[in-house]
């Protein structure tokens, strides 16, 4: 059967293979942006994604380098006509994720 979410599948497959993430959350926010002018005439339900990625691969890389790494892995999906229009990223190392958890727990 053809997947209903080919782009999401492709994101998951490519990032899992390349980054071996300990956390990979993929949110499809396309419905929130469907009314935007830039989306006129676009039929794809997979245009806006928000990703939360935790991976050792981000170790000793600044944020722009981490984002570039993800962008390069999803180059085809971003470049393709009718592909990903917007991609929000949160990139962390396992240590940073741990720190964030501790902070959030402390704040409660």
């Amino acid at each position: 059967m053809t997947s209903q979410t080919p782009i999401e599948d492709s994101i998951r497959e490519k990032l899992t293979t390349a980054l071996q993430p300990t956390t990979l959350e993929i949110y499809n926010d396309s419905h929130l942006h469907a009314h935007h002018q830039a989306m006129q005439g676009v039929t794809s339900k997979e245009t806006h994604f928000r990703l939360v990625i935790t991976s050792e691969a981000f170790q000793s890389k600044m944020q722009p380098a981490r984002h570039r790494l993800v962008y390069s892995l999803l180059k085809d999906e971003l470049a393709r006509e009718g592909g990903i229009h917007a991609l929000q990223l949160r990139t962390m190392t396992p240590q940073e994720e741990e720190q964030r958890r501790a902070q959030e727990a402390g704040a409660e």
């Binding site: 830039a38 722009p64 984002h67 570039r68 470049a79 006509e81 929000q88 990223l89």
Partner: protein
């Protein structure tokens, strides 16, 4: 704060337009469909003329934002969020320039290659690429952005009225 209100209003000046079209060679725009056009744009190497024009744009002010729409009327939520952050940080409008990529397809495609960054908005400080909206917002939240903008001396200084109240030293 009162001065912040004025600053953010000043920051909402019209975005600068870069005219690249006439100076560069592009794929024939006439008969090709938009699909072919965008393929051509992606494959084309950044021409010298485009690169020079973008160099000029990047160095036109200490803080430069490439965005969709203008600071006054952003055409995209991510561009809007980025402008809002710069306003909240108190960036000096005299040290800021915005370029609307929607007005110029050459710029829109060129800046992606120039920065090796596929999305817009894009922020430059002192000709250095800082990042897109997610990075701007996360640096804003962590305090890194305030630190950077202060180090680069691009924040609006205290108003003259306040300086006078503090003794009005003259140099």
């Amino acid at each position: 704060m009162f001065s912040r209100t004025i600053l953010s209003r000043q920051l909402r000046q019209p975005a600068t337009t870069l005219l690249l079209r006439s100076t560069t060679t592009t794929a024939p725009a006439s008969s090709s469909g938009s699909f072919l056009l965008s393929l051509a744009a992606q494959r084309r190497l950044l021409s010298d003329a485009t690169r020079k024009a973008i160099d000029k744009a990047v160095s036109s002010a200490p803080v430069v934002l490439f965005m969709k729409g203008t600071p006054e009327t952003p055409q995209c939520g991510f561009s809007r969020a980025s402008i809002q952050v710069l306003g909240l940080q108190g960036v000096d409008p005299n040290k800021f320039a915005a370029f609307n990529v929607l007005e110029d397809d050459e710029l829109r495609q060129g800046i992606k290659e120039y920065s090796d960054w596929p999305t817009i908005p894009q922020l430059y400080v002192d000709k250095e690429f800082i990042g897109g909206c997610d990075i701007i917002v996360s640096m804003h939240q962590s305090g890194e952005l305030a630190k950077l903008l202060e180090e680069k001396k691009v924040l609006a200084t205290e108003s003259e009225a306040e300086t006078e109240a503090q003794g009005g030293k003259k140099e």
